[in-house]
Symmetry: C2
Subunit: 121 residues, 2 copies
């Protein structure tokens, strides 16, 4: 285990956060939960990400054993990324984050349309 964020293992919640907290990590896990993908496939899905950053995120996920990286020794190069067991166990959390976000969004949009401040809380 790396020390990237040195407060790892102090608190399990923070530990989990530090592992999936990267700008793109949850989305990458989400994509890989559907099927394993190659570098450029991920790049296309994650429009806006740079090669450097995608590489970094993938390296960290791999180091933390959340994903597997399989290199095919052929030309042109081929690398496939897939979830590890621990990565898979993370998916329910990502799914919950997704549906919570959708619910939150719809509630906030509803709020904005209201004439009065009616505290939905």
């Amino acid at each position: 285990m790396k020390k990237r964020s040195n407060d790892r293992s102090q608190c399990p919640i923070r530990l989990t956060e530090s592992l999936i907290g990267g700008r793109w990590k949850t989305i990458i896990l989400w994509l890989l939960s559907k099927r394993s993908m190659r570098f450029n496939e991920l790049r296309r899905e994650l429009s806006g990400i740079t090669q450097k950053v995608l590489t970094e995120q993938l390296r960290e996920l791999e180091e933390d054993r959340l994903i597997h990286r399989k290199v095919y020794e052929i030309v042109p190069a081929k690398v496939e990324y897939s979830l590890s067991g621990q990565g898979e166990r993370l998916i329910p959390i990502v799914v919950m984050m997704c549906s919570w976000g959708e619910e939150y969004l719809s509630q906030e949009l509803a709020r904005e349309k209201l004439p009065q401040e009616n505290s939905q809380g």
Copy 2:
């Protein structure tokens, strides 16, 4: 809803992340899920946090309607923080992050004790 991270609402997962992604936010939500707390109570539990940062995190959580802030107009000042409905709906996610982190930790610790690299993936 604020624009703090401007990629909000593009992706519900990222939206959720942006709301709870602060250095202390999940822990704060976790603490408030047990009972509402005052400023200095939180400060004591979150050893290491500065007043400024705690204030910031609480303000953001409040702005995003994840917590309530109740001011008692007395001297000395008294302010109580508690979860909102949307904040409460977040707790299951925090709980899952906690147990995932514990599981992850025990597996990683087990790995480190092994003589051979046996990929527990």
